[in-house]
Each structure stands twice: as structure tokens, then as C-alpha cells.
């Protein structure tokens, strides 16, 4: 894999570093207390899944991809379309 857009890579890494700093700060506080196995009930609620309703995401991402200039970041394997 060759990277042509070095500027892209450095921009993404800068934003990622900023986010990582914020996460590290929060990790040093009470925001980081990984649950014990018997404490995970609330994490398994349907509202806590990351991707949500797949049918809804499919529709919504398709509309946004065809009306905006950016796409992706959530998953791989979807194809393209000639959408206007």
C-alpha cells in the first residue's frame, strides 16, 4: 500500500493525536473505571450498540454520501453508486 496523500495522513494523525490526548486525560479520572464482568448489564442494551439499526444506517449513509463530499469511516465492504 503506497500513500500518495502525505498531507492527508499528517492531518488525520494530528486530529487523532488530539483525540488521544483528550482520552488519556479522561483515562486519568473517574471517566475510566472498566467494569467487572458482573457490572456489564447496562452495556448490553440495544441503545448502547455502536452501529445502531443497520437498515437505518444504510439509508442514512447513502443519502449523506450522495449529497456531501465525504464518506466512510464506519465500516468496509460497501460498493459505490452513480447517485445524484
Amino acid at each position: 500500500m503506497s500513500i500518495r496523500c502525505n498531507a492527508c495522513l499528517s492531518r488525520v494523525l494530528r486530529w487523532s493525536a488530539l483525540l488521544a490526548c483528550m482520552l488519556t486525560l479522561s483515562a486519568c479520572s473517574s471517566l475510566y473505571a472498566p467494569p467487572q464482568p458482573w457490572e456489564k448489564g447496562l452495556l448490553s442494551k440495544p441503545a448502547m450498540t455502536m452501529d445502531g439499526d443497520p437498515g437505518e444506517s444504510r439509508y442514512t449513509q447513502h443519502i449523506l454520501d450522495s449529497k456531501e463530499g465525504s464518506r466512510g469511516g464506519y465500516g468496509v465492504g460497501g460498493g459505490g453508486c452513480g447517485c445524484n
Binding site: 472498566p34 467494569p35 456489564k40 452495556l43 437505518e56 469511516g73 464506519y74 465492504g77
Partner: protein
């Protein structure tokens, strides 16, 4: 179905010696880490297939407009199915048929730009399927998809692997995808172009507290081939490299039973389009059966390096001598806001239904963070989705 899962989870929470039950509860993080759309079962047992299969029928109605003009209308029914196979496998498949008609939105006055089919009517059929194999602390999936319309055919494949730590609080996700597109043009039998794309995604999902899940993904995509829109007056580069950084945070408020879902995505590409997308949803149970989820999203993007603004004081195209250029408003600098509301209703243990309405508006002036394209016509879209699901 949801109530049954809750009873199991409650039992697991009090039975520390039952490893199988603990494994199921810990699988919640692995589940939340699923990054492949279409593979998100509603029961939290990711190191094993979903407990129940389901069939879902959905319908989308979409309409957009600009001041004084109706533009595109689209209707898209879809059917999807997912099912466990034994104790280690699951499959899913879906199909959607878009019927789109109308005229593409324009930022420039229609007489300024010569164009091909400005009014159009198009049908598109897409099919996708996937299979997943589950192990105690990992899961592996393979997916295929196809999208076909009169002047555009796309075939894609994807693979994904997820690994979680012993305590299931951390999950790493790696995915790769490939896509091969064939492009034509209505009214021009000599146009036969292709485009090939490959992409990768790496992410980590972390249970931060008993009520917080955090996910961070970095994505990369590289496409080569025909990117030009044959119906617009433009000529685009033959290469596009895209990068994304995505952060998602879900927080559950125990006292209210509600959940705040937030996400931020940074995007940048080799066409100089940079964007930020910030979204928040609030899932609020109203009763045992009904919940409401309002949603707000703000989006801002910069223009592509080869996008051309209209001549000052007009909405007419400038004269250009560039080899690469575009007047497509989707590559201009603008900001956009989405307001949405979704209702979920659990009818009984097998049937559920959902409905969602969205209002979306794009304006050049709403852009934040840089140069604004001249205030061309704003663009508004409304849509609603209706779904019915039957678990079996």
C-alpha cells in the same frame, strides 16, 4: 426478546461462577465493536451468533428541493434478514431498490452550465450478504455486495476480524474492502469507464465504565479510475485518497434509562476536501414498549481544490482553462444541519416497528473553519423511513 435478554443479563450479573453466562455479558463490548454495517444483532452475545433471527422490511421516502424548485424524489423499499446457524455462525442478507426521479440540485443557474440529463429517472437495485464465524474472543466476517443501475454497476467485497481481551473490555477491529465499478452514460454508448477502490479500517472499542462505551476508528481508502460525473460539466482527477478518524461515545443514564450517543468524524482527502461531522442522539424510553430518539447533526466541509466558484455577483460559471475542474455543489464549501426524530415501538415479543423523520439543510454560509463558497442556493431535503421487524 429484549426483556428475555435482560433477564439473562441480570442472572449473569449475580452468578460470578458461571463462566458461560459471564462470557455472554462480556461479549457486549465485542458486539459494540462491530464495524461492518449489516452485522449488528440486537441481542448482546457477540462471541456467539444472535439468539434469534429476524426479517425486516423497510421503506424510505426522500425528497429534496431548492428555492422555487422541487428536485429529486426517491423511494426505496428494502428487505433484510439475519439468522444464526448453529452455535458458531450467522448469515445476513439484504436488498434495496431505489427509484429516483427529478432534476439534480443546481447551485448555478441552469442556463450557465451545459449538462447532460438534467431531468432523470433511475432505478437501482443493490444486494448484499455476509457470513460471520464466532469464537470465544473473536469473530470473523466476509461480505459481498452488488449495486446495479442503468449506467453504473458496482461489485464489492469486505473482510473483518474482531479480537477482544480476556475481560472483554477492549476490542480491536480490523477490516479491508475492495470495490470495482463500471460507469456508463445514458445517451452516450461510447462511454465505458471503470474505477477500483480498496479500503481499510482499524478501530478499538473500550468499555470505559459500566455505563460508557468508546470507539475510535481510523479509515483509509484509495480509489483509481473514473471519478468524473458524466452528467455534470466537470473533469475530475483519476485518483482519490481518503482518510477518516471517527470517535463515538455512548453513555447510559441509569436514573432516566436513557442513552446519549455521540459521534465525531474527521475526514480529509487528496482533493483537499476536509470535513467535520458532529452528531448526537438521545434515546429516551417512554414506556416498556415505546422509545423516542431525537437527533441533531452538524456538518462542515471545505471545497475540493478544483471546485470553481461562480463569477462574483452572479450564479454563473466562470470561464476556465483548467484541465481538472468541477461545478458540482457537493464539492463546494458548505455547512449542513440535520434534525431527526425516531420512534421505536415493540409490539410484542416477535414484532417491532420503527419510524424516523429527517430534515436536512445545506448552506454555504453555515460552513465553519475556513473559506466559504459564495452563498449559492441553499438545498433542503426531507425524508422518512418506516420499518417492521419480525424476530423468529
Amino acid at each position: 426478546m429484549v426483556a428475555t435478554a435482560w433477564v439473562e443479563v441480570a442472572v449473569a450479573a449475580t452468578d460470578r461462577n458461571n463462566n458461560k453466562q459471564l462470557g455472554s455479558v462480556g461479549g457486549a463490548v465485542l458486539l459494540a465493536a462491530l464495524a461492518l454495517p449489516g452485522l449488528c444483532p440486537t441481542v448482546a452475545q457477540a462471541e456467539s451468533p444472535p439468539e434469534r433471527g429476524s426479517v425486516t422490511v423497510k421503506y424510505l421516502h426522500y425528497k429534496d428541493k431548492q428555492p422555487g424548485f422541487d428536485r429529486i424524489t426517491a423511494r426505496a423499499p428494502s428487505v433484510s434478514i439475519e439468522a444464526p446457524i448453529g452455535s458458531s455462525w450467522s448469515v445476513s442478507a439484504s436488498t434495496v431498490r431505489d427509484s429516483v426521479s427529478g432534476a439534480s440540485p443546481r447551485r448555478y443557474t441552469s442556463t450557465a452550465i451545459p449538462s447532460g440529463a438534467s431531468r432523470m429517472s433511475e432505478e437501482r437495485t443493490a444486494v448484499d450478504g455476509s457470513v460471520t464465524y464466532y469464537r470465544p474472543r473473536s469473530a470473523y466476517s466476509f461480505s459481498l455486495s452488488n449495486s446495479t443501475e442503468h449506467d453504473y454497476k458496482s461489485n464489492a467485497a469486505g473482510v473483518n476480524a474482531r479480537f477482544s481481551t480476556d475481560d472483554h473490555n477492549t476490542t480491536v477491529n480490523v477490516g479491508a474492502g475492495w470495490s470495482s465499478d463500471k460507469i456508463g452514460k445514458t445517451g452516450d454508448p461510447d462511454l465505458h469507464e471503470t474505477k477500483h477502490t480498496y479500503e481499510m479500517l482499524v478501530g478499538v472499542t473500550q468499555a470505559m465504565t459500566r455505563t460508557d462505551l468508546l470507539q475510535f476508528n481510523i479509515g483509509f481508502s484509495r480509489g483509481a479510475g473514473y471519478f468524473t460525473d458524466p452528467y455534470k460539466y466537470d473533469l475530475r482527477p483519476e485518483d482519490r485518497e481518503q482518510w477518516t478518524a471517527l470517535l463515538r461515545w455512548n453513555h447510559h443514564f441509569e436514573s432516566m434509562g436513557s442513552t446519549l450517543r455521540t459521534s465525531y468524524r474527521y475526514y480529509t482527502d487528496s482533493w483537499s476536501v476536509n470535513s467535520h461531522a458532529l452528531q448526537a442522539e438521545w434515546v429516551q424510553p417512554i414506556s416498556d414498549q415505546l422509545s423516542l430518539t431525537p437527533l441533531v447533526r452538524y456538518y462542515t466541509q471545505s471545497a475540493a481544490s478544483f471546485y470553481l466558484d461562480p463569477r462574483p455577483g452572479t450564479q454563473r460559471a466562470p470561464v476556465h482553462s483548467n484541465e481538472i475542474y468541477s461545478y458540482d455543489q457537493r464539492l463546494s464549501a458548505f455547512g449542513a444541519v440535520t434534525l431527526g426524530l425516531r420512534a421505536d415501538y415493540q409490539i410484542d415479543k416477535d414484532w417491532s416497528t420503527d419510524i424516523r423523520g429527517d430534515w436536512y439543510k445545506q448552506r454555504s454560509a453555515w460552513r465553519v473553519g475556513g473559506k466559504v463558497s459564495p452563498d449559492l442556493e441553499p438545498f433542503t431535503a426531507t425524508s422518512f423511513q418506516l420499518g417492521v421487524k419480525r424476530a423468529f
